[in-house]
Amino acid sequence: MSNRDRPLSPHLQVYRPQITSVLSIAHRATGVVLAAGLILLLWWLAAAASGPDAFGAAQDAAGSFLGRLFLFGWTFALFYHLCNGIRHLFWDIGRGFELGTVALTGWLAVVGAAALTGLSWVLAYAAMGAL
């Protein structure tokens, strides 16, 4: 870190975004978002453990517009990280590295996550009797 004038290789923004690179950083980003979501999970469980009043307040917060917005984002982050994580596990056993396969499974992870997010929210509203 001493010589600050040394030439640097081109950084990320020089390159055109590709499905592989975008999904790779998205896996990281959703992972960080989900780690933050674990704090909310603790808050929800602790509220339930401390009694009906605290839990009612937690449920009201989760059901508010902002709460639902965050939960929707977390739902997608969860399903994307799940689908893309399964993709990573297949790579770990040495499968799915062909260029065409990588692009196909990448789009499958995105479409799968979107579909599971939509399905979950439709079922959740149905479970509440709102549909």
Binding site: L38, A48, P52, F55
Partner: protein, 126 residues
């Protein structure tokens, strides 16, 4: 010709001295989380808008409580391993990197035990 000593080769711990322990733990927790996360998502969908009584009844089922504890254990461990990699990749000041990795480890254990205690309290009749 390999320059590695026979002892170094059988230990298989490499220059980081911990081998593939971190990588392997991340994969094992990932595999465990696949069914646990699907179970949790289905449970939350069925609990949409639930009151306190319904959540208590849900965790009163021993199977649900055990699955929830497994999810908390695997989830917080997996999150800690992942956050550590992100910090090590992007934080270059050595003291800050060590401080953040330590803080994440402490937080994962503390928050995870907090979550597990909440589940146990509800499961054992709060």
């Amino acid at each position: 010709m390999s320059l590695r000593t026979p002892l170094g080769r059988v230990r298989g711990l490499g220059s980081a001295k911990e081998g593939t322990a971190h990588w392997w733990a991340q994969r094992l927790t990932a595999i465990a989380l696949v069914p646990l996360v699907i179970w949790f998502a289905v449970s939350l969908i069925m609990l949409t808008g639930a009151d306190h009584e319904a959540v208590t009844a849900w965790l009163g089922d021993p199977a649900a409580a055990v699955f929830m504890l497994l999810l908390i254990l695997a989830g917080f461990h997996h999150a800690q391993l992942g956050m550590q990699v992100v910090i090590e990749d992007y934080v270059h000041a050595e003291w800050l990197k060590i401080a953040l990795v330590t803080a994440v480890k402490f937080a994962a254990v503390a928050l995870g035990i907090g979550a597990a205690f909440s589940v146990l309290k509800l499961a054992l009749g709060g």
